[in-house]
């Protein structure tokens, strides 16, 4: 194994760390927190925390309703957030729908696309991959229960990549939707989503990309990817929880029926007939999570101010360090071989239950995730007991990786 030579630091990680107050925390009395569960949720920089508190201190009102000054301010903050999301992914603001997160975005898409496709579903198929998060499996299975649509699954190769040969066979003339994760939350594999989108388009299918894990460190351009929809959660990109979005290409968006009914998503309501609003508002029934949108806006601005190529090379270095260090230890198995710059590494230890590793690492202040990571079909194949997953973020330091390995060695001594 060839170790990446630590090159001159392009990012000032120490300075970035001071922007995240929680990284100063001690846990279990006197142990510095080593937070390596970033794939579950990232921490928040002070600017994001402040933007939310500022919203409530200075602006709070409902958007798109009130005629008063606060209402006008809040409406423009909310719509500004939509623009910033759009700019961050190469979309237009009227193609961005705010949701609760990736999960709600995928439920929205499955429901509205399902309603739009109607009787065609019974004859068609939806193509997913073996490494999908439950959020990109269960909504489609619910649609299958309603419609009888076939679900096809692109398998993985043994080293944790998508079997693109099989993918090209599975996507065929009856394919209606192809929905695929860009970076696996369990294996860290980065998938060639633009090729899958091309294949989807060649057969007239709708293409969807789950960008939950990629948005924090990859430059994302929906035009370049060529997808019809792309979804992510704010809380995995340094933003607040309970907010996320769905980019839906304009032609598709204007063609889809609403998801939920209520206020804001209508132009006119009478008991005889209601007409729906155009654009993203049609999918935003009820009072939205405005503080969330404001926080997400700040988080994306914070992300956009970083050079994402630097973020990626730094995270690649951390990822290589994790993979190399784990492979050095006997009895430790790293799952997959395509971690790239994801920061995500899943592993198992011979004869040791992952839960024991997680609990014992926690006693040293090291936070990791254990279990199936909401990817049970994948786990069934690679590690039925689940895995231990470490996941680094841009603010993870080399020192923290060293602390992780120090704790891991102690834990293995106790458990083996």
């Amino acid at each position: 194994m060839h170790l990446t030579q630590p090159s001159a630091p392009l990012l000032d990680i120490a300075a970035i760390r001071t922007e995240f107050p929680i990284l100063q925390r001690m846990v279990h009395g006197n142990k510095p927190l080593v937070y390596l569960d970033n794939a579950a949720t990232t921490q928040k920089p002070t600017v994001v925390i402040d933007s939310i508190s500022e919203f409530y201190r200075q602006h709070n009102a409902n958007a798109h309703r009130a005629g008063h000054v606060l209402g006008a301010e809040v409406t423009s903050m909310y719509e500004r957030a939509r623009e910033v999301v759009a700019e961050s992914i190469g979309a237009r603001a009227d193609e961005v729908v705010f949701t609760r997160g990736t999960t709600e975005s995928l439920n929205l898409l499955a429901t509205s696309i399902g309603a739009r496709l109607g009787p065609r579903l019974a004859e068609g198929n939806i193509v997913l991959t073996e490494m999908e998060h439950h959020a990109n499996i269960v909504p489609w299975q619910m649609l299958r229960e309603r419609s009888g649509v076939e679900i096809r699954v692109i398998p993985l190769t043994d080293d944790g990549a998508l079997d693109m040969g099989r993918a090209s066979q599975l996507i065929d003339a009856s394919t209606l939707v192809v929905s695929c994760v860009q970076v696996s939350n369990t294996l860290g594999t980065e998938n060639d989503v633009s090729t899958l989108c091309q294949w989807a388009h060649a057969v007239g299918a709708i293409s969807i990309v789950d960008a939950a894990q990629s948005v924090s460190s990859m430059a994302i351009d929906v035009q370049q990817i060529g997808c019809d929809a792309l979804v992510f959660s704010g809380h995995k990109v340094y933003g607040p929880m309970g907010i996320g979005c769905a980019f839906i290409r304009r032609e598709l968006l204007s063609d889809l029926p609403p998801y939920q009914g209520g206020g804001s998503m209508i132009t006119n309501v009478s008991f005889d007939k209601t007409t729906y609003a155009d654009g993203p508002m049609r999918f935003e029934a009820g009072t939205p999570n405005i503080e969330g949108a404001v926080g997400l806006c700040t988080a994306l601005q914070w992300r956009n101010a970083l050079d994402l190529r630097d973020v990626q090379s730094y995270k690649k270095m951390l990822t290589d360090e994790l993979v190399a260090g784990l492979r050095l230890r006997s009895g430790v198995h790293v799952h997959g071989a395509h971690h790239g710059h994801s920061g995500i590494v899943s592993f198992s230890i011979d004869g040791v239950h992952p839960q024991d590793v997680g609990i014992m690492l926690d006693t040293h202040g090291v936070a990791v995730r254990t279990g199936h990571h909401c990817t049970m079909p994948l786990m069934k194949r690679i590690a039925p007991q689940g895995t231990v997953r470490v996941s680094a973020a841009v603010y993870t330091s080399h020192d923290e990786i060293a602390q992780f390995f120090h704790a891991l060695d102690r834990v293995m001594k106790v458990l083996l």
Binding site: H353, Q355, D356, I359, M360, Q385, L415
Partner: protein
């Protein structure tokens, strides 16, 4: 014999032993040793119907009524959880269903474990205790009160 102590006494004894240890690494090591002290689990009962739901690891619990008292056998594929189920079994072993049903509901808190184990795993502990109560209810129908 555990039956010479009350449930409250047995709980207090384990809680004090754990509390006396210097840190959580030591406590979990002690918990794991308790798991290693469990009698070998009878293979014929390593079946899904004796698995406890609500735990990340697999936990098997098999009750048997002996002279009006419930005797438990337990096992897990994870060491800490096996230790936790051993603690629960030690507290509840060879008691009448009535005694078990009268036991306090906050045993995880009394043991000092609820605060440290995340909800997920603490709820593993509560699932074990809940399953024991369910067995006690079921078996109480077969014992004179």
């Amino acid at each position: 014999m555990s039956t010479t102590k009350t449930i409250a006494e047995a709980t207090y004894e384990i809680a004090s032993m754990l509390e006396a240890l210097p840190d959580w690494e030591e406590r979990f090591s002690a918990i794991m040793s308790m798991g290693k002290g469990l009698a070998p689990y009878p293979e014929e009962f390593r079946r899904d119907d004796f698995l406890i739901k609500g735990c990340q690891a697999q936990v098997w619990l098999f009750p048997r009524l002996v002279d009006g008292r419930i005797h438990f056998e337990a096992d897990s594929d994870a060491l800490i959880v096996k230790g936790l189920v051993a603690i629960v079994v030690q507290i509840m072993q060879d008691r009448t269903p009535q005694e078990i049903l009268a036991a306090p509901k906050d045993i995880p808190e009394q043991l000092g474990l609820a605060q440290h184990l995340s909800q997920n795993r603490a709820s593993g502990l509560s699932s074990m205790l809940k399953q024991i109560r369910l067995y006690a209810v079921a078996l109480s129908m077969r014992t004179p009160s």
